[in-house]
């Protein structure tokens, strides 16, 4: 319900921004076009109609074999209640952006939500999405000289690293619940 309101407000403010909305599922989300993402993010953060001040998570999904990577920004609007009262969550929404796999880049929102700094570094490190304007754009979890982006579906497991040989790539099995 609240995600529908956000979708309406965004459509009114930025025509052509909201590409799709899936608000009745388990994970209510709006798919936005990555072109005006910076303005949309600033609007979502600062406008009193949205007020999403808490960035919970930035996830990256590889849509292989489609040539897209999807970024999912989970946002929450926290607001204080009376003195001694627990704070309230006014709304939650997930914003999805589709970025091309090869060389796709998205404006960084680290200046809007500082929590994004490390989440974007992780999305770059593990999925290869570049973030323009990121203050510290380098790998965070893998070593600095790692080749490739491990969470991609077409990632080639390395055969050796720094001269140390690595084993064969793992296989998937179909398991049974006990």
């Amino acid at each position: 319900m609240v995600a529908a309101k956000i979708a309406g407000v965004l459509r009114a403010q930025f025509p052509g921004l909201v590409l799709a909305s899936d608000i009745d599922g388990l994970h209510p989300s709006l798919t936005l076009s990555p072109e005006n993402w910076k303005e949309a993010a600033a609007f979502l953060r600062h406008d009193p109609r949205a007020g999403f001040n808490f960035l919970r998570c930035i996830s990256s999904l590889d849509l292989y074999p489609e040539p897209f990577i999807e970024l999912v920004y989970d946002l929450m609007a926290l607001e204080p209640a009376g003195p001694g009262e627990p704070w309230r969550c006014a709304a939650t929404v997930a914003i999805r952006l589709r970025v091309p796999r090869d060389g796709g880049s998205v404006p960084s929102v680290a200046d809007i939500w500082p929590a994004a700094e490390w989440h974007e570094r992780e999305a770059f490190d593990l999925m290869g999405v570049k973030f323009e304007g990121h203050p510290d754009h380098r790998r965070i979890l893998c070593p600095d000289d790692w080749i490739g982006h491990p969470l991609r579906k077409d990632y080639q497991y390395p055969t050796e690293y720094d001269g140390i040989p690595a084993g064969p790539a793992p296989k998937t099995s179909v398991p049974e619940t006990p």
Partner: protein
């Protein structure tokens, strides 16, 4: 109540005539702290740019414990992934299992029976107490006090004995799986839990007397590493770090999941010094507040446990889960309140038994990101106080 401010040394190096004592001028050094270090709570590397004893900047480097849990999640079925979740925040394994199980149960529409839900909450809150005891003990140890560590671990032994009687393991349990706990509680578990609660609750006041109001401890932690509530929300902090800054936000109360809406408990937050017995030097959002929120949370967890003991019904603990659980082509993002913050799982199914993507939002990952901001212009000794108060477990930072 002022935040402590240190001045850079070069301003003060003038002799009696006001001439610059160039010989005594220090230079900036880049000092490496970790990844192997007793005070960094795991394999965390901090590169400190220091000017004498003053740290101008501390840059955390993480990834030394990266074990590719998310990639493994794309190759294992959910029930096979449960042991991996144990090892994320290895001090709160029950809570990790709980969060992941609930995410998958939401995705697949599995309803856990009532007794199973109560057992999950009991284990989750016991593990919260155990985790906060480690945090209490190791924080004191970082600052040079050895005794609280031993007392904390002694109480933890009773909790680990309870866990061992229930599932056989002391640290990585894999007890709470998809569909509920793997086994029902053993005979005598609830009586032992009652005895433990009667024994443990007075101990919290003893530990306050031992450490929380100790003059040296207060001098080292009050006013150090102050995080304002706006900064805490902007940087995505959750758990005691957020509550220590005065933001009364706890998922169990504010967005209740499972059966947490049936329990009465409070959310402790950081309070300014001078009232209620709080030392006067304490500022809301400093390291002392974050530490004290954990101590108060142990009391609230004990309260929840007593209510569980009263309310737990008989019956089965597990739901009927199909032999090969096919995940629907939907996704779910579920967050649970772990001892260190909100642990989130984004599970994307694609119709097969193996998820397409498992994204883990580790609370310590988000909490640690603020370290580079608050470790500016503090003394080297304060770095240990600040990192210890954030209470990171590198298992969920690096996954």
């Amino acid at each position: 109540m002022q935040e402590r401010v240190y001045h850079s040394y070069p301003d003060l190096l003038l002799d009696a005539e006001g001439e610059d004592l160039a010989d005594l001028r220090t230079e900036e050094m880049l000092i490496n702290m970790g990844p192997q270090h007793p005070s960094t709570h795991g394999v965390l590397r901090l590169v400190l740019r220091t000017d004498g004893e003053l740290v101008l900047e501390a840059v955390p480097h993480i990834g030394y414990l990266h074990r590719c849990a998310e990639k493994i999640g794309e190759n294992l079925a959910p029930y096979q992934f449960i042991p991996i979740t144990d090892r994320l925040d290895y001090l709160a394994a029950m809570n990790n299992n709980y969060a992941f199980s609930m995410a998958v149960e939401q995705l697949c529409g599995i309803e856990v029976p009532e007794r199973g839900r109560y057992v999950r909450v009991i284990m989750s809150e016991l593990n919260r107490i155990a985790s906060h005891l480690v945090s209490f003990g190791s924080y004191a140890l970082d600052l040079g006090a050895f005794t609280p560590f031993l007392y904390g671990f002694r109480e933890r032994e009773y909790i680990l004995d309870l866990f061992e009687s229930a599932c056989g393991a002391r640290l990585t349990y894999s007890y709470i799986t998809i569909g509920g706990p793997a086994l029902d509680l053993p005979e005598g578990f609830l009586e032992n839990l009652q005895q433990f609660l009667d024994y443990f609750e007075p101990k919290i006041d003893e530990y306050n007397q031992l450490l929380s109001y100790n003059h040296i401890f207060v001098r080292r932690t009050a006013g150090v590493g102050v995080i304002s509530p706006e900064d805490a929300i902007a940087w995505g902090l959750t758990g005691p770090c957020l509550r220590g800054s005065g933001v009364r936000w706890d998922l169990r109360k504010c967005m209740p999941y499972d059966i947490y809406d049936r329990f009465e408990f409070e959310i402790p937050v950081g309070v300014p010094g001078g009232s209620d017995g709080i030392p006067r030097a304490v500022v809301v959002g400093d390291s002392w507040c974050r530490y004290f929120v954990r101590i108060a949370e142990m009391k609230q967890s004990a309260r929840i446990l007593r209510q569980c003991l009263e309310q737990i019904p008989d019956g089965p603990v597990r739901a009927k889960v199909p032999r090969v659980l096919k995940l629907p082509s939907k996704e779910v993002y579920f967050e649970a309140e772990n001892p260190r913050g909100q642990l989130g799982f984004l599970v994307v199914g694609d119709g097969s038994p193996i998820p397409r993507r498992v994204k883990i939002r580790g609370p310590s990952f988000c909490n640690l990101s603020i370290a580079s901001q608050i470790c500016r212009n503090v003394l080297v000794a304060d770095i240990a106080a600040i990192i210890g108060s954030i209470d990171v477990v590198m298992g969920e930072v690096d996954r």
